[in-house]
């Protein structure tokens, strides 16, 4: 067996990364979307609702595909990097937009 072969044994590290960091990543992406298309006229704006609905497909995809990471620590590492990038994007859009 190759050293880099994937197995399902180390699922916990990957799944926990996808659950926690996957959610914060999704939050950053959907909030970016929500801010770009915001109307700001009412609490339950359609744009806000679409941004809410987008959480499900993105988060689910991350959860489903996280087992392709080679190991738990790698999943945490890559998702942390993705988080930093996504939150930086969100912050940038907020700063430009205001």
């Amino acid at each position: 067996m190759n050293r880099h072969d994937l197995t399902s044994r180390d699922w916990f590290g990957k799944a926990s990364a996808a659950t926690i960091l996957g959610f914060t990543l999704t939050l950053a992406l959907t909030c970016t979307f929500g801010w770009l298309f915001r109307t700001g006229d009412s609490y339950f704006s359609a744009q806000g609702q679409v941004a809410m609905w987008l959480v499900a497909p993105i988060w689910c995809a991350i959860l489903g595909l996280c087992f392709l990471f080679r190991s738990g620590p790698r999943a945490w590492g890559w998702l942390a990097l993705a988080n930093i990038a996504a939150w930086a994007l969100y912050a940038a859009i907020r700063l430009i937009g205001s």
Binding site: S8, G40, A46, M52, A56, L63
Partner: protein, 531 residues
């Protein structure tokens, strides 16, 4: 594709499937039934003593009498355009809302023109099944059940993705190969694959929407918190205060009568069939109205109806965000998510397809469990365990007990609607007691007797419980304790009869397999007996 990826995802698929499968069976079976909530409500609701509804033209007279005699109706009363067994009155008002149903009063005009008010006795059984579906059968309060249901939905999404990944390499080879041969396990696997793949879009929709339905509030809160950093505060609209003192009579009169409003709404929204019109009043907005209706050309936000807001003094549509065919692209997008989950588009054919897809989904989870047990059994056998391990035995028993307990429990609690006293205020609790007693008894029976022995007998129980639905219709009418009306309710009886036949066929097959199938199977009586 790399074999290690396929192998990894095969493991993931079996594990998430086995954890979520039984809960999803309940969600899908109960969900399939909610496709016909309206016919079921008609079937289960006792006729009221109320005088037949007056015509729409005569409704202003009724409304006037209601508003004078019942100030509590002034803040919100509803004029019903479709009158039937589940809503027999032209005018009604309620103390509850969608999440917390409260008592509803019905008003009509007696033959001498005097006001007649009775409390509604609509059967709660369809609502009970709906909640069962939402909470994957958990009897806990909403705020406890929903997060659990959300986790199950996430596992379901992972099961879908992993299932597709491990099917991909052999897709072309296996897809159209339904091998009904001596290898029973192969046949089950083929069936599981074909069913899963052909209903894949349906399952993706259900997983994604279920995650949102479960975590809706939490996601909103999280997104709201992020967006509000350094931004002007967005006010969440206040819920109407149900305990506010009733408004004065003058404040709520001066609105257009229902017939005139119906005419004006039809002019603005042709094709929109008005179902209800609610006249509302609060101190902030004054007189206004909410309308609910259906347009077969568009999907709806609620399971059956789309919603709109009107000015009850002019008939102008003031809010069309949730109105079929009148939404902008953004709102139409949001509505499509709801419509895709509820099957509330395309009318009756789509409802029937969702019913079939829901049952097929339930079967998919059942067959998945079955495959897991059989392959686990094989592995154990190879590693030398002659007897089945306790885990395999318990899981085998649960795979039989949970689905069949759910089926039998739902059928019996529906049938009970025609026998329980319709005036009892305790009705929802009784439906719960009946369901959970049957459900738990089936699980205990399966655990005690083992999968093989209980499988056939519980299928007979499911068949009998389902047969109890048309039998109740017939017997209770004959004895004069129940009721029967034609049309939609005969559909309920007919579907139950088909279901009964299906369970009888399955019971016979299970019986045969237990006696004459492979000896070393979880489903063989001899194997069960040795442990």
């Amino acid at each position: 594709m790399r074999t290690d990826i396929v192998k990894t995802y095969k493991d993931i698929h079996s594990w998430v499937g086995i954890i979520a499968g039984l809960a999803l069976f309940i969600a899908f079976y109960a969900g399939a039934i909610t496709m016909f909530e309206d016919p079921l409500n008609r079937w289960a609701s006792a006729p009221t003593s109320i005088t037949p509804a007056p015509s729409l033209a005569r409704t202003p007279e009724l409304v006037d009498k209601v508003l004078r005699a019942h100030p509590e109706a002034r803040a919100a009363y509803t004029v019903n355009f479709d009158v039937g067994p589940e809503m027999p009155a032209r005018v009604s008002w309620t103390k509850g809302n969608r999440r917390v149903p409260g008592p509803t009063w019905l008003a009509s005009l007696a033959s001498d023109g005097s006001l007649q008010v009775v409390q509604q006795q609509a059967s709660p059984v369809a609502n009970f099944i709906d909640v069962l579906h939402e909470q994957i059968g958990l009897p806990f309060p909403h705020n406890v059940s929903m997060p659990i249901m959300g986790v199950i939905s996430l596992l379901y999404a992972v099961a879908i993705i992993s299932g597709v990944i491990c099917l991909l390499p052999s897709l072309v080879k296996d897809l159209f190969a339904l091998r009904f041969s001596r290898n029973v396990k192969r046949m089950w696997l083929d069936l599981h694959n074909v069913l899963g793949l052909f209903s894949l879009p349906f399952h993706i929709i259900m997983a994604v929407t279920a995650v949102i339905f479960a975590f809706h509030d939490e996601i909103y809160t999280a997104q709201g918190a992020v967006q509000q950093i350094g931004a002007p505060k967005l006010e969440r609209p206040a819920r109407p205060d149900r305990n506010a003192p009733p408004p004065a009579l003058e404040a709520v009169t001066g609105t257009l009568p229902p017939l005139e409003l119906q005419r004006r709404i039809a002019q603005q929204a042709p094709g929109f069939r008005l179902h209800t019109l609610t006249y509302e009043y609060n101190a902030k907005e004054g007189r206004h109205g909410a309308i609910a209706g259906y347009d077969p050309r568009y999907g709806t936000r609620a399971p059956v109806y789309g919603l709109g807001e009107i000015d009850t003094r002019t008939g102008a549509i003031t809010g069309a965000d949730y109105m079929p065919g009148r939404q902008d692209a953004w709102f139409a997008t949001v509505t499509s998510f709801f419509a895709l989950h509820f099957g509330s588009f395309g009318g009756t054919p789509v409802r029937w397809s969702y019913f079939v897809l829901g049952l097929a989904g339930a079967f998919l989870f059942y067959s998945g469990n079955l495959l897991w047990i059989e392959s686990r059994r094989k592995k154990e056998r190879k590693s030398g365990a002659v007897m089945q391990t306790r885990a395999t035995r318990i899981l085998g028993a649960l795979t039989v007990g949970v689905p069949l307990g759910c089926v039998a429990g739902i059928s019996l609690t529906i049938a009970a609607a025609k026998w329980l006293p319709p005036t009892s205020p305790d009705l929802p609790a009784w439906h719960g007691r009946i369901y959970y007693c049957v459900f738990l008894a089936a699980i205990v029976w399966a655990l005690v007797r083992g999968a093989a022995r209980s499988g056939a007998s519980l299928l007979w129980v499911a068949a009998a419980a389902t047969a109890a639905i048309p039998v109740s219709s017939f017997a209770s009418t004959l004895l004069g304790t129940g009721w029967s009306d034609n049309g939609a309710t005969q559909l309920v009886d007919a579907v139950a009869l088909v279901g009964t036949a299906g369970f009888v066929v399955m019971a016979r097959a299970a019986h045969n397999r237990a006696r004459h199938g492979p000896r070393d199977s979880v489903w063989a009586i001899t194997a069960a007996a040795t442990t």
